[in-house]
Amino acid sequence: MSRGVVYYIAGRFLQSVMVLWIIVTLLFLLFRLAPSNPLASYIDTTFTKQQEAALLARFGLDKPLHEQYIIYLVNLARFDLGDTFSYAGKSVLDILRADLPNTIYLTLSSLLVAYGVGVLGGILMAALRGSLFERVGTTFTLMTRAAPTFWVGMLLLTFFAFQWKLLPSSGIAPAMVRYRWETEWDKLMSPVFWRHMILPTFTLVVYLHGLPLLLMRSNMLEVLDQDYVTMSRLAGYREWRVMIQTAARNAMLPVLTALTLGIGYSIGGNVVIENVFSWPGLGRTLVRAVQQADYPLAQGAFFLIALIIVFMNFIADILYSLLDPRVGASAQAQVS
């Protein structure tokens, strides 16, 4: 790796850190200035003013705003997201640590399938440019993108889970199976887990495959117009080689970037689907935390999602500069 690329990566990283800092600050303000009472989830018959004060002190809410901010930043830097309001003895991190893998499994499986389908579909659409199949195909894809995911999920649930009882309707596995999993590995080795994954994954694929498909299609059309593609035709390569090795390979670059970005955004966007399928992930926790006014938890979940997004944005930049030597070079040109 050349010095230019290293500089580029370091610069991007610093920039990401700065972006994250601003987001974190906004998050702090949003949660501190919110009109709802941060202790709402504690109200009970026996709740007294003294207890309220004690609680405020326990969560550091009695200090002046700027002091809270400093403490908050310092804690974040140590990746200490604080304690939840609603789970005794559990830190926010404990809870998120349990949720995160599930969200990641769902996100990755759906994205990989969707991008697989999308890339192949996009190549096909580009190859069949102008045909009836292409027109119907792209219109259908637009339709799937227009359908609300939760609605698709509900329809799929109605038939596959409730009417035909083919697939489980919610969660990641029955508890009797789940409690035997000691590690994430056990979970991943369990067929039951994968069976539970089918419906939510499929629902997401219905929605997610549209972007890579349309992107791949238009990139292919663009690349097929490029001189180097003409060149490889002129050079007498077989058509599939031209389509796959030259055109598709180059057209894939933006799709790969989109995939990388997609990981971040999906983790934030799966909220609705996780709720439809009771998938124990970050999104469901976030919604419950917000509903139950467990602010440290909501804030933590939000922060984690934002962190992943910013990180994936960073990775996407880096990936792009590594995959496409031109980007790295323009970065280098600025320093050399």
Partner: protein, 326 residues
């Protein structure tokens, strides 16, 4: 030489023929007209919007019942969970004498689904269009300023865009919706705060391209002021792009409003399609197999969102004949 050929091809092959009229407004109108003339799908989208707009405006007249008040039978009890009469098998229990009042059936507590659908178009269009307008206006202004002036203005605005790109959209809306009084405007505000980022970036890069074009330099050499250059020379070329992003924003706004309503963060006094789906979900539509609660609002959402997509695509095909991108 090659470029000449390209431009000539572009000119005769029509993609550039969008630049036909003199005044910026007329031009915009022409571009819009062209989008809908060239692209039947975009025209379809426009018709869908127009139809729903009419429905939304005349909702109180068109809807046979109040969308929130449960229908009552002769005994004064609510007519709950009535199937659409035309779907019911003979012998199935359809409340007598009320068939005309609820073509699409009633909800779990006896609200008229058809009336809800009609009223739901209001929320969808209101959110869709105001969010789209906000996104397009903010994005365009930011893009123009950042692109044209460059320097620290550009740096600040584009860093802001980076920040906006780093904030997860749905979670942000959920938090906003939970913290403030439930209202459909939460979605609009959140979209305005976040979604200008795409529009802004694209418009900025487009401005950077246009700014470097010789005719802009020519204008400057002729003594044109910054404002004149921005508004007379650059903005007209940018506006179709704003429309493009605006149309997509309509779609996203409707979709987002539906999602947020579905998660239960909407204003219960405002009937929206997402709210209907949430109501259906909470009323156990799946277990009951009450697809007549699920399908109509979902179809309406899909139809309007698709309309936005189609129109956006229509603009795309006219603006970037080679880069038909979604």
């Amino acid at each position: 030489m090659q470029q000449e050929a390209m431009v000539r091809e572009a000119a005769t092959g029509n993609p550039e023929a969008r630049f036909r009229q003199g005044s910026a407004l007329r031009q915009l109108w022409e571009t819009n007209l062209e989008v809908f003339q060239r692209d039947r799908m975009a025209l379809f989208g426009l018709i869908v919007f127009a139809a729903f707009a009419i429905i939304a405006v005349f909702a109180p007249i068109l809807a046979p019942n109040d969308p929130l008040t449960p229908l009552k039978n002769n005994e004064g009890d609510w007519i709950k969970d009535a199937m659409p009469y035309w779907l019911a098998e003979p012998g199935e229990d359809v409340a007598e004498g009320y068939t005309n009042d609820f073509v699409l059936g009633t909800t779990n507590i006896g609200r008229d689904i058809f009336s809800q659908l009609i009223h739901g178009s209001r929320a969808a269009l209101l959110v869709g269009f105001s969010a789209a307008a906000a996104v397009a206006v903010i994005g365009t202004v930011i893009g123009l300023l950042a692109g044209y002036y460059g320097g620290w203005i550009d740096t600040v605005l584009m860093r802001a865009a980076d920040v906006a790109f780093g904030i997860p959209f749905i979670p942000f809306i959920i938090v906003i919706a939970a913290f403030f009084d439930p209202s459909i405007w939460n979605v609009v505000i959140a979209m305005a705060i976040l979604l200008w980022r795409d529009t802004g970036r694209v418009i900025r890069s487009q401005v950077l391209v246009i700014k470097e074009q010789a005719f802009v330099s020519a204008a400057r050499v002729s003594g044109a002021s910054d404002l004149r250059i921005i508004f007379v020379y650059i903005a007209p070329s940018i506006l179709p792009l704003s429309f493009l992003y605006g149309s997509f924003a309509i779609a996203w706004a409707i979709l987002t409003e539906a999602s947020v309503s579905f998660l239960g963060f909407s204003d219960p006094e405002t009937i929206s399609w997402g709210f209907m789906l949430q109501d259906a979900f909470l009323s156990l539509a799946l277990t009951r197999g009450a697809f007549y609660w699920i399908i109509p609002p979902g179809l309406c959402i899909m139809l309007t969102v698709m309309a936005g997509f189609f129109i956006g695509r229509g603009y795309e095909e006219v603006l970037f004949p080679r880069l038909r991108r979604m």
